[in-house]
């Protein structure tokens, strides 16, 4: 079957995407969920188990505490409370931990250690998977069963002050709330004052049951100046005094009502040594958790070390404490010390409720649940519990009853631990089979692509994909049968759930057929290549491929980058790799330019052609890759003397200066946004510009950038798009002024901050208009085949539309990134690629390198925390999933996307030039 290069590449990309999707589906484990959601009417609570004589206690036990105050301090690492810092700065809390009526724990958070998943874990008791982070960029309302929803359903009145995330997660649950946004990380007093100012009033009132306070200041200090900063001490002292205030108020109230209250002090995640969070270091995982209540009696001299527990245990404990059903998808087990003071019957009842909930969750998520040791333990303890109840109701001898009770309790605790463990393990299990199938697909397509490169780039731009040859069909059917048999065997013997097995037989068969077809295609392409290779090696006229230093650099750099991804530090600091590579690339270009300029005259005929092999020492090792050589070679042969000689004086100087200009631009951009992990805390220009003192500077910079963007983009647009572009860029500035990022010269202070929806939509209209004009031109050029210029203009218009969209979505301090991107593209086009006549492969890879570097220049990193979510809300009133996802994705990947679209438009303009690059290269 003959295919055009474009069609072939498109097919490969589609299959590749399918393979990657399948792999990701297996890699991201499905979260453990209970099927019953909160919308369903809650089923009646499990009655006490009984043997013989039936117990009449079928209702939920009454709440243990009248009021619950949850004081959540963002980033409260365990040693801030239990370590030397706690002793020094939190004297009251330390007193409570050491001598007061309290239970203290070190609660271990699970990944990802980011606030929103942590809040979910605390309130639902479930383990949000990584995919939740992607799915919930805007944290829409929490639909899973959770403590807050249960409390609301039970008629509890909940008040919340603090981080806005809670209000988004629980939009209609609080009778009173005041959310503070954590958008401005550099502010660490106001965010907390906003919470504390309500405190006195609320504590005096008695009309609430649950009070939740979320303090953000500590985390902000960590982000700004790290965990060893002196500011941390001040903040901890402030938190300690707030805790004291709440505790004394609760105690004085208890004196009147005589019912105990509960005060929970906890952190959502820890803080790494650099002050960030999100990863899995011990400092980030371990948080402090202290439960304070007068119900927790304590004899003097009773020293309790903080025990290690899971963060998810809090949800179950809170539910029991408030007399609510335990959230359905909670994997936590009750923190037993909290109910230790209750009568034995109640203790056992609580444990039973928790065990029933966990075993139900296990039944829903593990097919072979009866084989689980936790489930067996649970069944056994339930039986024992029944016996105990019978003895109890018969009012048997208290000694026997007590001993049996202790035994049942121990059994239950063991069962809970095992159940909880096996459920958590379920979350961390990969679906190996799906991952394997995805990987095989991707690798096969990759091999096919690599093997087809020389053919696809040859003069016909067509290639033979051997799909219908007879030998092939036999092999194909064999492969297909074997794979199907394998599939049946794997799926019938699989114990855990597997996505790929869950697909219908037809789909799975299709995938198997695809895999075997690809394998056969790769095989025959290999065979063909070997046959051709023999033929070529006999042909003496075939000249040996020659590699310029630039080719070697590009190849080695790309491969070196891929290899560097084997080390996690290089992934964290990937931006350094790219900056390093593009700098080297610029220097290599510089070398090439200077040699071409100065040595043109005295370039002698080649006498000593062997020396070059030493110079390009890595080349011989690579020369067996004849594919590449073949690909690069035709152009080298056709490459005449470079057109540097024909340049006039001014242009020659520009050519000589251009690498240095590009290098300077890159250096400036590099200091604009510090990213990565190790050096992320270093001061950079971006922070300086965004601080509120430098608004005037930022405004000037933004305005200048927009003007330069217009100047750089407009030169190849049609008149309509020029006007649209100008108006659009004006709209961008108006939008930024409306949301208060920049100032108009006549505006002294930004009083009225709106969401800027109208301005943003104004720009959106122009973006769509320009894109539409560009598409129209492209379609026209398809119809009128002869006219190449229309196609070029159309592509350039699409490119400029994307530039306008990027200008709208970038934060104002990032606009210089866009300017420099356009500037470097212009310089490279005019003074480097055109005069030096690089071939399409080199230009493509250079575009790729620069695109990657610009991804990091924007301030992105490989951590999800650097994704600028606010871009998803530009021009939208409310959250709409599809446009928000699209806008966020575009704003994040603007660098690579812009460079890629520039590549397309550049290559097409080169083809259309009469006497330019030959079209076979595209």
């Amino acid at each position: 079957m003959r295919l055009g290069s474009g069609t072939f590449a498109a097919c490969c990309v589609v299959i590749e995407v399918l393979g990657v999707a399948l792999f990701l589906r297996g890699f991201f484990p499905t979260p453990v969920r209970s099927s019953s959601r909160t919308e369903h009417q809650a089923e009646p609570p499990a009655p006490e188990p009984s043997a013989g004589a039936s117990s009449n206690w079928t209702k939920l036990p009454p709440p243990l505490f009248r009021k619950v105050v949850i004081m959540l301090i963002d980033g409260l690492r365990d040693d801030f409370v239990f370590g030397s810092k706690g002793v020094k700065f939190m004297p009251y809390t330390t007193y409570l931990v050491e001598k007061g009526a309290s239970h203290s724990f070190v609660a271990e958070a699970k990944l990802p250690t980011v606030t929103m998943p942590r809040i979910k874990a605390l309130m639902t008791g479930s383990l949000p998977g990584f995919i939740d982070v992607v799915r919930n960029l805007n944290s829409p309302a929490l639909l899973e069963d959770n403590v807050i929803t249960q409390a609301k359903a039970a008629g509890k009145r909940i008040i919340f002050y603090g981080d806005e995330t809670w209000v988004k997660l629980f939009p209609r649950h609080f009778v009173e709330y005041d959310g503070t946004t954590s958008f401005f990380v550099s502010d660490y007093t106001e965010v907390d004052d906003n919470v504390t100012r309500h405190l006195d009033k609320v504590l005096k009132r008695g009309d609430w049951d649950v009070l939740i306070l979320h303090y953000l200041g500590l985390d902000h200090i960590g982000h700004v100046s790290g965990p060893s900063s002196p500011l941390i001490g001040h903040k901890l002292r402030e938190m300690d005094s707030i805790l004291m205030k709440i505790h004394t108020s609760l105690l004085s109230e208890e004196r009147e009502t005589l019912v105990p209250n509960l005060l929970v002090l906890c952190g959502d995640h820890g803080m790494s040594e650099t002050g960030g969070h999100g990863a899995s270091s011990v400092e980030e995982l371990n948080t402090a958790l202290i439960l304070i209540s007068s119900a927790f009696e304590r004899k003097p001299g009773d020293i309790r070390r903080p025990k290690h527990v899971q963060q998810t245990d809090l949800a179950a404990t809170l539910a029991i404490g408030l007399g609510l059903p335990i959230p359905g998808s909670s994997v936590g087990s009750l923190l037993f010390p909290t109910v230790e003071g209750r009568p034995v019957r109640e203790q056992l009842r609580f444990l039973h409720l928790n065990a029933v909930q966990l075993s139900k969750l296990l039944q829903e998520n593990v097919p072979s649940y009866t084989k689980e040791p936790g489930f067996e333990q649970f069944k056994m303890s339930e039986r024992l519990h029944g016996n105990w109840i019978r003895l109890y109701l018969e009012e048997n001898n208290s000694e026997v009853l007590f001993n049996l009770g202790a035994k049942v309790r121990r059994q239950y605790l063991d069962a809970l631990r095992t159940l909880s463990l096996s459920l958590s393990r379920q979350v961390a299990q990969y679906d190996i089979y799906s991952m394997l199938v995805g990987t095989v697909m991707v690798l096969e397509v990759l091999a096919l692509l690599l093997l087809s490169i020389p053919q696809a780039l040859s003069s016909e731009a067509e290639l033979e994909v051997p799909l219908w040859s007879p030998v092939f069909s036999l092999l194909f059917y064999l492969m297909f049968l074997v794979l199907s048999a394998l599939h049946v065997i794997v799926c019938t013997s699989a114990e855990s759930s597997c996505y790929f097995c869950g697909l219908s037989w037809l789909t799975a068969g299709g995938v198997m057929a695809l895999i075997s077809a690809l394998l056969c295609a790769v095989g025959s392409a290999l065979a063909k290549m070997f046959a051709d290779g023999k033929f070529l090696s006999k042909n003496p006229a075939h000249p040996k491929a020659r590699w310029s230093e630039l080719d070697v650099l590009i190849l080695l750099g790309t491969m070196g980058h891929v290899l560097s991804l084997g080390a996690s530090s290089f992934i964290e600091e990937e931006h350094q790799t790219w900056y390093f590579l593009i700098n080297t690339l610029c220097l290599a270009l510089c070398h090439e330019i200077y040699r071409n300029c100065f040595l043109r005259d005295d370039c002698e005929p080649q006498q000593c052609s062997h020396v070059e092999e030493g110079f390009v020492s890595p080349a011989p090792a690579l020369q067996d890759r004849s594919i590449r050589c073949n690909m690069l070679e035709p152009h080298r042969v056709s490459k005449g003397p470079t057109s540097l000689d024909t340049l006039r004086g001014y242009e020659k100087w520009m050519v000589l200066a251009s690498p240095w200009v590009i290098l300077t631009c890159c250096r400036l951009l590099r200091s604009l946004n510090q990213t990565g992990v190790q050096w992320a805390h270093r001061p950079d220009l971006g922070h300086w510009l965004t601080s509120s003192d430098h608004k005037a500077e930022l405004s000037v910079l933004a305005a200048l950038s927009l003007i330069v963007i217009f100047a750089l983009v407009q030169r190849r647009c049609s008149l309509t798009s020029k006007v649209a572009m100008a108006l659009g860029l004006l709209g961008v500035y108006c939008y930024r002024a409306a949301i208060g990022n920049v100032l108009f010269p006549w505006q002294r202070d930004s009083k009225d901050i709106s969401k800027g929806v109208i301005e943003a939509r104004f720009v959106h209209v122009f973006v769509l208009g320009i894109l539409f004009t560009g598409t129209k031109d492209l379609l026209k050029s398809q119809v009128i085949a002869a006219d190449f210029t229309i196609k070029t203009v159309g592509l350039w218009e699409i490119y400029s539309g994307l530039v306008l969209l990027a200008a709208l979505l970038f934060r104002p301090h990032n606009l210089p990134v866009l300017v420099f991107s356009l500037f470097i593209q212009t310089i490279m086009t005019k003074f480097i690629w055109k005069p030096l006549r690089h071939d399409a492969a080199e230009i493509t890879i250079m575009h790729y390198w620069f695109g990657q570097a610009f991804f990091y220049f924007q301030g992105n990193s490989n951590s999800i925390a650097t994704v600028d979510v606010s871009a998803g809300f530009v021009g939208l009133d409310t959250y709409m999933e599809v446009p928000a996802m699209f806008l966020t994705a575009f704003a994040t990947f603007a660098g690579p996307v812009l460079w890629a679209s520039h590549l397309v438009s550049f290559l097409s303009s080169e083809t259309s030039l009469p006497g330019g690059r030959t079209g076979t290269w595209l």
């Binding site: 790799t577 040699r595 040595l599 006498q607 020396v611 070059e612 110079f615 250096r667």
Partner: protein, 219 residues
């Protein structure tokens, strides 16, 4: 192409390596608590002085291109001054390139500049000795097919290998091993030194092995 030439080349290179080793060990007798890592700035100065001195002495003794027509004193002095200026210029040039590569602009200026000096010592000094203050000759040597003697050939190899060493010397910086030498100029300096030494070792061997194929137009 004579074997004696290669032998001379080998000896000079061994002397250069010896000078670097000396620069590590001699200062321990005179200076207290001297070590490469802790007082590496001192080591940088000493090493660069040693290598420069050895290069100058060797140049005067061996005279690889003894074709000076005029030898008046003033001519020699101007040539020498010119070389000094070129050396300084190359130091600043390297400094600028390091900053472009991401070295901090204001902090660590001294460290970065000393690094520039040592790299110039490894690359520019032999160049100036051999080719004189002549940019065109340099561009010729560092392009394909431009070398005209084994001296130039070895110069090409050592220079490129010191550059490559420097380049790779920067790669361990982002790794989280938390070693003292993983700081910005130190690892690059060490990389440059290793590259230079490797180049010194490799070039005579390489020339020896390829002596049959190598034909220089001036020989």
């Amino acid at each position: 192409m004579k074997d004696t030439d290669i032998k001379r080349l080998l000896y000079t290179h061994l002397l250069c390596i010896f000078s670097i080793i000396l620069s590590i060990f001699i200062p321990t007798f005179f200076l207290e608590n001297f070590s490469i890592l802790e007082t590496y700035l001192t080591w940088l100065c000493i090493c660069s002085v040693f290598v420069t001195a050895i290069n100058l002495v060797l140049y005067l003794v061996v005279k690889p291109n003894a074709s000076s027509k005029r030898s008046s004193l003033s001519y020699k002095v101007t040539r020498f001054l010119k070389r000094c200026i070129y050396f300084l210029m190359s130091c600043f040039f390297f400094h600028v390139i390091f900053v472009l590569y991401g070295a901090p602009l204001i902090e660590l200026v001294l460290e970065t500049f000393l690094f520039a000096i040592i790299l110039s010592t490894f690359t520019t000094v032999p160049c100036l000795c051999l080719l004189g203050p002549n940019i065109k000759a340099r561009l010729r040597v560092f392009s394909r097919n431009g070398v005209t003697s084994i001296w130039e050939n070895s110069l090409q190899i050592t220079t490129i290998s010191s550059f490559i060493g420097t380049w790779f010397g920067a790669s361990p910086i982002p790794l989280d091993w938390e070693r003292p030498w993983q700081v910005s100029p130190i690892s690059c300096t060490l990389g440059a030194t290793f590259g230079y030494v490797a180049g010194l070792v490799i070039s005579p061997l390489w020339i020896y092995w390829n002596r049959k194929q190598l034909t220089y137009k001036n020989n």
